[in-house]
Symmetry: C2
Subunit: 477 residues, 2 copies
């Protein structure tokens, strides 16, 4: 049963609670390791006659956990036999009554009988080490658990099911073939043979490059789905930024499922519209600003714009009416921004529309007809008029074109960095190839590119990398 | 599969989350009802080829939940076939990744496909209605989940495994036989036959009576285990009652398991010593008392003593030293209490021992040598000196003789009432028998006694009773 290819650490037996703590009908303990079935047999007295060690994999057994005379609980035990389990090892899942006492007793019993507490993410780490999934898939497990919106869920699920790592692995495998051929050429260096077809290789490099480029370009979208699309609310003091923010957030605070007890308490500065998450940048600043005189330096505003995907600029309708130069100033400012950041979405929001007559408002808005590629809306954030229109616009613009169901998206900053580096080293190989670099130098660059590609799917890992990835997992996963 | 003996309500399909809400590795949904396996088959795409309907009971199946094109999750499905399941019906348990989104989607899918949300305790109610357990066992499930101490756990587990209901059922069955014979006699009333041996019947009644008496007598202990042993802290104003209470509670507040995240937040006025729970009575009064002048009328103190099992009387060492009559007054008071409540445990606590010299303290304590059957200790609650000794004493006295591992204990107020009533009606039958009551009148009393006995184990139930019992269960159980 023991897998000799694993580091020693992973040949032992581990346990962790797999279900959330608290009150409920049942709690599940998960165990994995070479001896967990035998060990559980010493604690478990089945209602039927079969011992767990004699049971088939993927079967369920009802019985009692007994510590000497004490009946600790009536439980259901699921048995999985290596390699057909989540971790690839022998595994056991025990459903106990969710009493604090029982949970404590069960855990203590196993800790006293040769099983140790699992580290965070250790079950998934073992699944990776036993080649049940690649590294990107393992990382998707954490994303899947954290998913709150349909899109977050979809990209995590795509990654879990293989997603881009399948494609990358295939390309890398093909590159490995070329590398092998080139290494072979080195063995026959004096004979000046060419086993690796250079034109074919160039075509492969091109394919890899375009795949990597596609994936890195998808990161902005992928990251926006995972972390929320960043939205900046800007404008002069007292244009109603804080009121607008509250109007947007208030109704959307609770990301609630219908399951009793799962209302989220955490209030964060984001909303979810049509399954897409929007995250407001630097809202602390906005909230403070309502209390004291605001001092947004140009630098700071630019900072916010730089981070954002969508930029709202608020202007005060009454001030627009009173100051004839404000319209032209606003247009100039927006055009500068648009020039600097042509990819971002700018929305000019004429706020406090309740302070001017409808006729006047219409004339004020017409002044902005000169703006190209910038959306102009009006509202009274205070009276919550026009806020719905803004939401619709956000949902329409920021969602537009970014989300196609078939897309494979990169959501992970680590993958993004590795993809960028891989792209860089593939380019290096390409340049070397074009420049007629000698095979031995080319081989070095190729090996570098293979390493970079391998880091994403975990074919190349270090202990540090693994520790870093799995320490963010929850216990029991 | 449908069980025609069930009321219509229980022939449908139900679902509920079985694990606590919140973050974790997995969440489990539990389904029960005639069609749950077929319905799950429409949502579940197994990795193997077998459909769940073709699977054996007590097997586990890995695969995907798919709603049209969308992969909702990779899950593990446990299949149970009627009658071999917790409820006795076809059942399914689905382990999903514990993401809020997935939990919501899975629940919604089933609610949209002919499954309704289970009512609290409905799985256990169905188990009872399908004769998988009797009523007392069903009630024990809720107690088991709530158990915090080893003793609470032990009595709940004993009840779950049959406990006293097995014994009661057997006695009742024997009484039913006699009842049947007597009813038969009524059919032959004119012939003056006696099918039921009256002497044997008298012996059975005696046996039933002694069992019922034993069980009702165990209730005080059982209830103390379940609810905690009630302790009253009494004494004049400013004798340090509130300080003592805080000293006792402070260190013991967290009833913690070693499982990460399960620290209990709730602060209640109880402590657990050596696995036994002690509950302090009317501590709100004590806490208020430190803020304002206390006005404990004699009546109110007596009220507290009546409820308590252990009574602490605090006196102030400094006041004892200053007021020569206080010692005699205290002795008189305690002797009155002891006379009125001979079964209760009284502990005289000389507090503020730090305010007098050790010599003086010794002399003050010797004054209480006259007290018989009352424990005298001294302490400085403020300096936390002597508090440990009080805890040891509590643990020794209140635990003494009350807890024998083999004991079958009644912990449920409903059972206690029903047992008392049953005992009363058995006595009635006995009296009738001794008085030579006519068989038809005797039969009426017997039927009444049978009903009372049947209420405990659920052989006799009403919808009201069931509703009342199961509404206190958690969802998913």
């Amino acid at each position: 049963m023991k897998n000799p290819s694993l580091p020693f650490k992973y040949r032992d037996n581990i346990i962790a609670p797999a279900t959330p703590p608290g009150t409920g009908a049942i709690s599940v303990f998960r165990l994995s390791g070479p001896d967990v079935i035998e060990i559980t047999d010493r604690f478990f007295v089945p209602k039927g006659k079969k011992k767990l060690t004699e049971a088939e994999g993927h079967t369920l057994h009802f019985g009692e956990l007994r510590d000497g005379d004490e009946v600790v609980d009536e439980v259901l035990v699921a048995v999985f036999k290596a390699p057909k389990s989540y971790t690839g090892e022998n595994s056991v899942e025990i459903s106990v009554h969710a009493s604090p006492y029982i949970q404590k007793r069960v855990l203590e019993w196993f800790l006293d009988h040769g099983v140790r507490m699992a580290e965070p993410g250790e079950f998934t780490l073992r699944a990776f080490l036993n080649r049940k999934m690649d590294l990107a898939q393992a990382e998707a497990v954490a994303d899947l658990i954290a998913a709150e919106t349909p899109w977050q869920h979809r990209v995590a699920m795509q990654q879990l099911r293989g997603g881009f790592s399948k494609k990358l692995k295939e390309l890398r495998d093909r590159m490995v073939e070329f590398a092998a051929l080139m290494e072979l050429e080195l063995d026959f260096a004096e004979e000046d043979v060419e086993f690796a077809d250079r034109r074919q290789f160039a075509r492969l490099l091109d394919e890899i490059k375009s795949t990597l480029r596609e994936l890195t370009e998808g990161y902005r979208t992928g990251n926006a789905i995972k972390e929320g699309i960043p939205v900046a609310i800007t404008g002069e003091p007292n244009t109603g930024k804080s009121t607008l923010l509250n109007a947007l957030l208030n109704e959307e605070k609770a990301i609630v499922t219908d399951i009793p007890g799962t209302t989220r308490d955490a209030i964060e500065d984001y909303i979810i519209l049509n399954g897409i998450k929007y995250r407001f940048i630097d809202t602390a600043g906005i909230r403070e600003a309502s209390d004291r005189v605001e001092q947004i330096g140009i630098a700071r505003t630019f900072e916010k714009i730089k981070e954002a995907r969508v930029v709202l600029l608020l202007v005060d309708a009454a001030r627009l009416a009173a100051d004839s130069r404000l319209c032209a100033d606003t247009i100039r400012r927006l055009n500068e921004w648009k020039k600097e950041y042509p990819d971002k979405i700018f929305i000019l929001t004429v706020n406090k529309s309740d302070l001017v007559t409808p006729d006047r408002l219409e004339r004020l808005l017409s002044c902005f007809n000169a703006l190209k590629g910038i959306h102009v809306i009006h509202m009274s954030a205070k009276r919550k008029e026009g806020v719905e229109r803004l939401k619709e616009l956000l949902s329409l613009l920021a969602g537009q074109g970014t989300l196609k169901p078939g897309d494979v998206l990169v959501t992970n900053a680590r993958h993004y960095r590795a993809l960028k580096e891989a792209l860089e080293s593939v380019r290096q190989v390409e340049e070397g190839l074009q420049a007629g670099l000698s095979t031995d130098l080319l081989a070095v660059d190729i090996r570098d590119a293979l390493n970079k590609l391998g880091e994403i799917t975990g074919e190349i890992t270090t202990d540090d990398l693994l520790d870093h990835i799995f320490q963010n997992f929850c216990i029991g996963k």
